[in-house]
């Protein structure tokens, strides 16, 4: 009895009623008795030594309880750095942040001192009066210059700025280039962008002296990562550190890191014996929350006359920022994502991860894939232009055919498993997207517009994304004595509606209604083992675990009822919160009674072999990532005189296998594309040559707003995966990944009359005007 009642339906969200009434409980909403608030003193310099810290004036500010720098923190923290999340042999310098910088600061915004007061206002008043004697040192502002010989060293004591090096590839690359009819080369530079969820980060903590235990709330995507960090820092047993995740106002990647404030705030709560809270403000978010995207690619491609790619090789310099909280995962993802949906004869890439005196970089929606897809799709467009082949045709000639699935690429994925595309029809995805976007008739539209003096263009962006990464995301299903079903999971939602999706799966298996299930998320006290929400992995992992655990509970219910009614289990069914004998007037026994039976209440006998409690836990462990794919087509108009880009139409074909809730998947795609449009046309984190951040307000860092984002025309394909019981794949980042590639290609296509070449991203209006001027100079034989 598991016919689909909810799975596959666009069920309305369980999360909405509370949120729509302003009833959400976000970090800064927590009302803890006797609460104190904290503010940090942060470095104005990108690189400096801390000579002295004078806190005397600060302590006199009304409302201030205490002012603390590194050496004031508990001894157990002395000289320690935060646990490195993703160790990897390729890392040469695995340096992470201290809770408070003790001797040296390596990016603007790194904290050296914290103030606790009765209000945030008073804490900030005191922060102004802390006098730090900085000894500024030269700083390195870009990953390219970081590797130059005389570049200032990001961390004094290190000899160079190399954080890690590795190479990967497959096939005989030298032979590919020997056989090449043509070799093309280009340099690409995606620039820094950030997540900017509308809710900034935040941490609150209570220390229970009697139990020597922490209760820590954090606006995080991965409470278990935070727990591991706190356990390592304070050397406490895991069950003494409970991380609770309240409602989270968006994550998008950067909230899956373990941050210094998640160490300092608990320490203060312990020292003061009172609850302490720190709510990050937007300025702090610009200065301290991890960012991403800065890379420099130098790529060569060997092709035959027909534009078939024989081999692709090159170098990637990845900006790690000042520290490595998440190891070198992102450049690794970039490197393994480049081939995408194409069968490259041979591939070789040498990657150098460089430190810079800027905020650390960690995965941000797409996690290195938007850049890799940008490079691969730009290479396809370069081939198309040089060989005068239609861009769609270049891609058609290089696609991995559908019948080649599962397709082993010859690379190893970030989880150590081989990259094997499990399912997907890439040529069909592009074909559907082109048809929907009326690609073939576009030249007519373009010519007509040109006559009216309007420049319109069209661009393609294909991608394949490894999703549903292990190791696991478990689930425990328990039926309480009141008959309600509870799901406990390590999944930690930040707006993706995990509670709704997981309830759909569980309710179908147990024959209950959507409102009969409660879901407990993001709480290490309730689900001791978990990984967390990132890399579009929850539906695959937690969803599969919920399904497995629900089936196990159902079987227990049937076994108990069968024993009670002396019938075969097959004659029974679960429906409306009870087990019924099939057919009319069949006897029924409610889940509640069955739960009482197994809860140890006197007066019952457990049948042989049935363990107490109506409960089951499952940890689905995927053998490898499952690969979603998609094809985006963007049509834009460009005003060549001002450089303004307007999006006319945005088409998305998306394949993430079986869909649990189509409404939610469409929401992820539309929201993901909006983020991608930001990365392509609006958002850029700008630093000066001394690594000072210059775009530190929303007046200069341009977030996409309502009038700029079109409604996407979304076409669904579904290639179920054999790798998990749901046949589902991840969908959280697919919208963002190819958007920059498609949009930049469309802008370049619109400017075909000017023969402009775009190799960086985002492409901003000023740059478009400059490129046109340069192109015209080239045409008129200028320098």
């Amino acid at each position: 009895m598991n016919e689909k009642v909810f799975v596959g339906q666009s069920v309305k969200r369980l999360e909405d009623p509370d949120l729509l009434r302003g009833g959400g409980q976000f970090l800064d909403d927590l009302k803890l008795p006797g609460l104190l608030e904290a503010a940090f003193v942060r470095s104005p310099f990108a690189h400096a030594r801390i000579s002295s810290i004078d806190v005397e004036e600060a302590t006199k500010v009304p409302g201030v309880v205490g002012v603390y720098s590194a050496h004031d923190l508990p001894d157990v923290m002395r000289g320690k750095r935060i646990l490195l999340q993703v160790p990897n042999p390729a890392i040469t310098n695995p340096i992470t942040q201290e809770p408070l910088a003790s001797e040296e600061v390596c990016f603007v915004g790194e904290a050296v001192c914290v103030i606790v007061a009765d209000t945030r206002h008073a804490a900030e008043d005191a922060a102004e009066r802390v006098i730090v004697d900085w000894d500024p040192m030269p700083a390195t502002g870009h990953c390219d210059s970081a590797l130059k010989p005389k570049a200032p060293v990001v961390h004094s004591g290190m000899t160079d700025n190399v954080a890690g090096r590795f190479s990967l590839g497959y096939g005989d690359i030298d032979q590919a280039f020997r056989n090449a009819h043509h070799v093309l080369r280009e340099r690409y530079e995606p620039h820094r962008g950030t997540g900017h969820p509308m809710e900034c980060r935040g941490v609150a903590a209570i220390y229970d002296a009697v139990a020597d235990a922490f209760r820590i709330w954090s606006s995080t995507q991965t409470p278990h990562n935070t727990q591991r960090g706190v356990v390592d820092m304070f050397e406490m047993p895991e069950d003494h550190v409970r991380i609770i995740t309240p409602d989270v106002g968006g994550g998008f990647g950067p909230k899956n890191q373990v941050y210094p404030e998640e160490m300092v705030i608990p320490a203060l709560a312990q020292m003061l014996g009172r609850p302490v809270k720190w709510a990050e403000d937007r300025r702090e978010h610009f200065l301290t929350t991890t960012q991403e995207r800065d890379q420099v690619w130098d790529i060569s491609v060997a092709i035959d006359d027909d534009g078939k790619i024989l081999g692709l090789k090159g170098t990637l310099i990845h900006d790690a920022g000042a520290y490595l909280p998440w190891g070198t995962i992102m450049p690794y993802i970039s490197a393994t994502t480049v081939p995408g949906p194409y069968r490259l004869g041979a591939y070789k890439i040498d990657v150098t991860v460089a430190f810079t005196n800027m905020v650390p970089t960690t995965p941000l929606r797409g996690a290195g894939r938007p850049q890799a897809v940008y490079v691969m799709e730009r290479i396809c467009d370069l081939i198309a232009r040089e060989r005068a082949i239609d861009p769609a045709e270049v891609r058609r000639r290089n696609f991995i055919p559908a019948d080649a699935m599962p397709f082993e690429m010859g690379l190893t994925y970030r989880d150590g498993a081989p990259v094997i595309y499990d399912s997907g029809d890439y040529p069909e995805a592009q074909a559907k997207a082109l048809a929907r976007a009326e690609y073939d008739s576009f030249p007519v539209r373009q010519a007509k517009a040109l006559k009216q003096g309007r420049y319109i263009g069209i661009g393609i962006g294909n991608y394949v994304e490894g999703t549903g990464l292990g190791p696991f995301e478990g689930a425990t299903i328990r039926i309480l004595t009141n008959g309600r079903v509870t799901i406990y999971t390590g999944a930690t939602p930040a707006g993706q509606a995990h509670k709704t999706t997981l309830t759909q799966i569980c309710a179908d298996q147990l024959g209950v209604g959507m409102t009969d299930v409660d879901v407990v998320v993001g709480d290490t006290g309730m689900m001791p083992r978990g990984a967390g929400t990132y890399a579009s992995r929850i539906t695959v992992n937690a969803g599969s675990s919920v399904r497995m655990a629900s089936i196990e509970v159902r079987e227990k219910l049937l076994k108990l009822a069968a024993a009670k009614f002396h019938v075969a289990e097959d004659d029974l069914e679960c429906r409306d919160g009870a087990v019924r004998i099939k057919g009319e007037q069949g006897d029924t026994i409610s889940f509640s009674d069955l739960a009482k039976m197994t809860s140890g209440m006197p007066g019952y006998v457990l049948p042989a072999g049935v363990k107490p409690d109506l409960e089951a836990s499952a940890y689905f462990t995927p053998p490898q990532a499952t690969y979603s794919n998609g094809s985006h087509v963007a049509e834009v108009e460009v005003d060549p005189e001002t450089g303004l880009v307007t999006i006319i139409k945005y088409t998305v074909v998306h394949d993430c296998g079986n869909v649990i809730n189509p409404m939610l998947v469409d929401g992820q795609i539309q929201g993901g594309v909006a983020h991608g449009i930001g990365n392509a046309l609006l958002e850029r984190m700008v630093y000066d040559v001394d690594a000072n951040p210059l775009t530190t307000t929303f007046a200069e860092y341009l977030m996409p707003t309502a009038e700029l984002i079109p409604g996407c025309d979304i076409v669904h394909m579904s290639s179920p995966t054999p790798l998990n019981p749901l046949g589902a794949k991840g969908a959280g980042e697919g919208g963002t990944i190819p958007a920059p590639a498609a949009l930049v290609a469309a802008v370049e296509n619109a400017l075909k009359p000017f023969d402009v070449r775009i190799t960086d991203c985002p492409i901003l209006p000023q740059r478009i005007v400059e490129l046109i001027a340069e192109a015209e100079l080239r045409k008129t034989g200028g320098n």
Binding site: T119, R120, H121, E124, D125, E128, D281, R282, R283, E641, T642, L644, L681, L682, V686, D688, L694, T695, T697, A699, E700, L702, T705, E707, L708, L764, P765, Q766, V769, E770
Partner: protein, 291 residues
């Protein structure tokens, strides 16, 4: 991002306000707060006393007599935008105010607050320059009038003494049937203009340009009135090449560059926007006001 401490004072009347301004040290006026409060939250601006002049009814109001439009300093931007009396005589004002921030901004933002704050991209400063405005300051000692040309002294530094309140701005109205256009370049609605242009045109009965006013915003500390362009336009028939020449002339000026936007790009935008603005203004000559 909480403001530094200050003492709040509520001025019920103009005399209250001027009195407090005269007596209080390191004080500042609070009107709409849409420009001042962000700078106080970011702690760029810190004051000891904040004098709230919102309750001063006398400072709010719109009046039109013969060819002058008077707007009180505390008048909300929204009521100026929605005023049918204003759009009848000066339609450019509604078009320009549509660019000022967002709905929430204009619900609280005031005309006087924007002029006193003097952001280089302030649309209201552009209008004041374009329409030969005269700005009145009131202090305990009396009233002082400043022509818009003498008003900007430097970056966000208007010609207002510490003890003065910007009480009123008076715009010179153009005869009915004039052409108008206000446009700006920014990537998002409500952003600070990278470059903005305001144009007013009137034609003689031979169809030639009789009078022209063109102002740039976002390109210098204060708005720039393009006197040379205006002179070149007078006597010419409206047309693509005339407006093209006007744009080229505008682009020759030295315009501000900053960490994100080069002065060369501002010059390019000035060239394009002036041309387009004049063309649109010319189209509107003689049209009904709210076209």
């Amino acid at each position: 991002m909480k403001p530094a401490p200050f003492k709040y004072h509520r001025a019920e009347t103009l005399d209250d306000a001027t009195g407090m301004l005269a007596e209080l040290e390191n004080a500042r006026l609070l009107s709409g707060g849409q420009s001042l409060m962000p700078m106080m939250n970011l702690r760029y601006v810190a004051v000891d006393h904040l004098i709230d002049i919102n309750p001063v009814a006398a400072l709010a109001g719109i009046s039109i007599e013969d060819n002058h439009l008077r707007i009180g300093g505390m008048t909300r931007q929204r009521s100026v935008l929605e005023s049918d009396r204003i759009v009848a005589r000066a339609p450019i004002i509604r078009e320009a105010l549509g660019f000022v921030g967002h709905v929430q901004t204009r619900n609280r933002g005031t005309v006087g607050g924007s002029l006193a704050h003097m952001d280089p991209s302030a649309e209201l400063m552009g209008l004041a320059s374009l329409m030969d405005a005269e700005i009145s300051m009131t202090s305990r000692g009396g009233e002082r009038r400043v022509a818009i040309t003498d008003y900007p002294l430097g970056y966000m530094t208007p010609n207002i003494e510490p003890d003065e309140i910007l009480s009123e701005v008076r715009f010179d109205l153009w005869p009915d049937g004039h052409g108008w256009d206000f446009r700006e370049f920014a990537q998002r609605h409500g952003d600070f203009a990278i470059v903005g242009v305001g144009s007013l045109l009137s034609l003689d009965n031979g169809g030639r340009i009789e009078r022209a006013a063109v102002t740039l915003i976002g390109v210098d500390d204060g708005p720039i009135r393009l006197g040379d362009v205006e002179a070149a336009l007078v006597g010419e028939p409206p047309g693509e090449d005339v407006f093209q020449a006007a744009g080229n002339m505008a682009a020759k000026r030295e315009l501000m560059g900053d960490a994100l936007v080069t002065s060369a790009y501002r010059q390019k935008l000035a060239d394009v926007l002036v041309r387009r603005s004049l063309a649109r203004a010319a189209e509107r000559v003689g049209e009904a006001a709210d076209a």
